[in-house]
């Protein structure tokens, strides 16, 4: 909440989480697609993120298959972005005079999104509390201007601020409330169930089928011949970059589930990543044609 208030004060639009399963806040179209094209942008939001292979049945003190990221994207990246970021740490109660904050080289690359950037992981007393990235490419397109992206792992940050060692022990509401709830009360059950589901139970044949459906639908939506989809009033073609990107997100999550089920060999893995990247690239190509992407459709 304090992060949202802070970034709101810095002029970011405070958005809501995207309503599809994503692996990280970066997948939200407010980051992936909006990092493209020339238009200025500033947004911040919480994004529940799912990483099927990280499930530990709720036992690991800081590894979860479902967790929350706080994500900020500002385009073009302002010259004082580092100071703005440090301000956000102060806003959540980290005293820079007492704690050791460090920017340690960490280049970011997402092979599934065809994206990369340079930046750091930010350490607070030796713990990674954020990722700080200057996007250079998304979906194979050069980012012009460059966006600055900040990602906070909310559980970790909260554990740090509250001084708690196991994520499940963290209070989720006011510990003095009539019904005090911990993170574990809210999420232990789901972590157990989803860990089992992701590793052992999810139906492989169905996942493969759904992956191919999503892949085909993404391509179909963007194919101008199969899908002219003109606006009935103006006759202008509507490029469906966002609906197609939804399919790309789905394909990516299905791939992650298949990976967790252990049915993708190392060589196939590269091929699947390449297929998702091809979708991301098509969506990026489409987005830059739209009005929001300041392309021809504008």
């Amino acid at each position: 909440m304090r992060l949202a208030a802070y970034w709101g004060r810095q002029g970011c639009a405070i958005l809501q989480p995207y309503d599809l399963e994503v692996g990280a806040g970066t997948f939200h179209p407010a980051t992936t697609l909006r990092a493209l094209g020339p238009r200025a942008w500033a947004a911040a939001y919480v994004q529940p993120s799912r990483r099927p292979t990280d499930g530990r049945y709720g036992e690991n003190p800081n590894r979860l298959q479902h967790y929350y990221q706080y994500q900020v994207l500002i385009k073009p990246s302002p010259p004082n972005l580092q100071d703005l970021y440090l301000g956000s740490l102060e806003a959540i109660g980290i005293d820079m005079g007492l704690h050791d904050i460090r920017f340690v080289e960490d280049d970011w690359e997402s092979p599934t999104l065809g994206a990369w950037g340079l930046g750091w992981e930010v350490w607070c007393d030796g713990m990674e509390v954020s990722q700080f990235t200057y996007f250079q490419q998304v979906g194979g397109h050069d980012c012009k201007p460059v966006s600055g992206e900040l990602t906070y792992g909310l559980e970790r940050l909260a554990m740090y601020v509250l001084g708690i060692d196991h994520v499940m022990d963290m209070p989720f509401n006011d510990p003095d409330a009539p019904i005090p709830l911990t993170y574990g009360d809210v999420f232990r059950q789901t972590e157990e169930e989803y860990s089992r589901h992701n590793f052992d139970a999810a139906e492989v044949a169905m996942l493969f089928r759904h992956f191919e459906d999503a892949e085909a639908e993404c391509a179909r939506l963007l194919d101008p011949e199969l899908n002219p989809a003109a606006d009935p009033k103006t006759g202008k073609r509507i490029v469906m970059a966002h609906p197609a990107y939804d399919q790309c997100i789905k394909a990516s999550h299905l791939f992650n589930l298949l990976d967790a089920r252990g049915v993708i060999s190392p060589t196939e893995r590269q091929a699947y990543i390449g297929r998702v990247r091809a979708l991301a690239k098509m969506c990026a190509d489409a987005f830059v044609q739209t009005e929001a992407g300041a392309g021809e459709a504008a």
Partner: protein, 702 residues
Amino acid sequence: MADLLLELFSEEIPARMQARAAEDLKKLVTDWMVENGLTYEAAAGFATPRRLTLSLTGLPEVTPDTVEERKGPRTDAPEKAVEGFLRSTGLTLDQLERRADKKGEVFFAVIRRPGRPAAEVIAEAVEHAVRNFPWPKSMRWGAGALRWVRPLHRILCVVSDEGGTSLVPVEIDGIRASDETEGHRFMARGPFRVAHFDDYVAKLSAHRVVLDPEERAHRIWHDATQMAFAVGMEVVEDKGLLAEVAGLVEWPVVLMGEIGAEFLDLPPEVLQTSMKEHQKFFSVRNPKTGRIERFVTVANIEAPDGGEAILKGNRRVLAARLSDAKFFWENDLRRVKDKGIDGIAAMAGPLASVVFHQKLGTQAERVARIAELARDIAPAVGADPDLAEQAARVAKADLASEMVYEFPELQGVMGGYYARAAGLPDAVANAAAAHYRPLGPSDEVPSEPVSIAVALADKIDMLTGFWAIDEKPTGSKDPFALRRAALGVIRTILENGPRVHLSNAIARAQWALNGGDKPAHERFDLQRADLLAFLADRLKVALRDQGVRHDVIQACFDLGGQDDLVLLVNRVRALQDFLATDDGANLLTACNRASNIVRIEEEKDGVEYSMPPDPMFAEGAEEAALFAALDQAEPAIAEALKAEDFTAAMAAMAGLRRPVDDFFDKVTVNAPNQILRRNRLCLLNRIRHAMRQVAVWEAIEG
């Protein structure tokens, strides 16, 4: 004379790039200046996480005037040619001089360039350096097009002399140079002005920045060792980590903390690797227990609580990391503990589906080959064949352990722990731990017989395999570290002294690669010969530091069949010693002379003078003496060689020197009498053959 101070102030530069960048900045700026006539006396480059700094002293105020003369076309050349010359020189026709030349009258351009103010050249040099900086990776930011390693914020560029300080007018993509910089990010915010380098260093220090990376490293090491000493412990030295940590802070503050008691039983290598990789901590060892019991971390701030909060945070992160490591360690141990070879085999099971290299099969197949080869090599290195085979089968099991999956650099080391936990013999456990060694030129080689057998088998299989699929190192490319493997073979043999016939070992590795068939194919012979030649090349590199001559190695290797490195090196050393004597140097000359004469005459006559010469035709005392000397030396050399006594072989050869010299002095080889001539040519050939028992002398550089 003036001094220049240049600072490029940016967001945090990756630690691994800083040292190189400071050097690159120095080179780019000074090269440009010198090319443009601006000299300097001394240059020094520095880097911190947020700045690259260059200090130059002894600059003139202006560059000297220059005169350049350029010869042009003849005065009667076509107009086009003259126009082109005018364009290239920037002069007009009446400014050209006409001079007489061998070929007639020719235009000459005399281009006078007045000296330029130093500041102008510096400004160009700075812009050139910033725009052409060779960062390993660079980026754009905001809406700009400039590339730098991370966003560049300020350029400080001032020239100073006794008269004061002046700004150098530089502006690059909206960043205008000034005389301002900033201090420590947290402890001294806000910009300040500087006048010259000494002022800059002093003010930075007051603003909590140590400019010189070496000084930062020195302070860290000093404080860390003092702190450890105070509690009776010692810091584990790690130069790479020290340089990296010095590149992560502008104001190093060393803190020491304790490692939780529940983690102290982890192997020291695990503690060390986990702390270094994840946290960039130094390990602190208790010499009494041999365990790693504390850590040293380096903070970037002086906190009012003396670093308590920082240490507490670091301890907590460390505990989380070590919990992971402990989890892996205990899982791995559970699988092998007291289960003997079966436990290890179970751990290694997944290697059957791990591809080593697409064309060289799985890790399991490779292990089977190494086991076979280790068994073969064992007798030569004094190892028990059964143990060597077992050790080879065990050595790579840890590649399937959770710990090595997390920390690949612990391969081998963990294998040793797991083999011991499984209850296997020490020789086997030690071989698992040591078989990757030596990991670099300064790393120790394995020294126990079983370890030697496995280490050699591992490397020979690797070399043979990559030679078979033609993935040899080329130029600077050696992705499979085959040069290191070859050097490992050489050092392991030379430092332990076993007599291994590498050609046989490689042949066995080839058979193993081909499913046990003995391929008699010519291709395999060629590959084997090529690999041996590669090993000989690496041997030259390996022995260069010891003053062993590469041509002498080549001369011995060229004899053929030289695949026993111990023998080869003994021969090389004896020969090199011999060449350093008067007799040796003389014989080398004589041998070359004999070879040359025989070669020339053979070419002339179109025949080979390889028949044994007949002493019956010897005329005069010198020729007869040579026959006698050869009769004596030949069997002596052969016998000495058979006994592998190269010093004796050289001594026997020394006996030839006088008779050979006398022969050349007194006897005419190309005598008019054809019978005598042929006999003498055959005699020269005999000398050559006698000496060729020891080396191919022609390969020795005179």
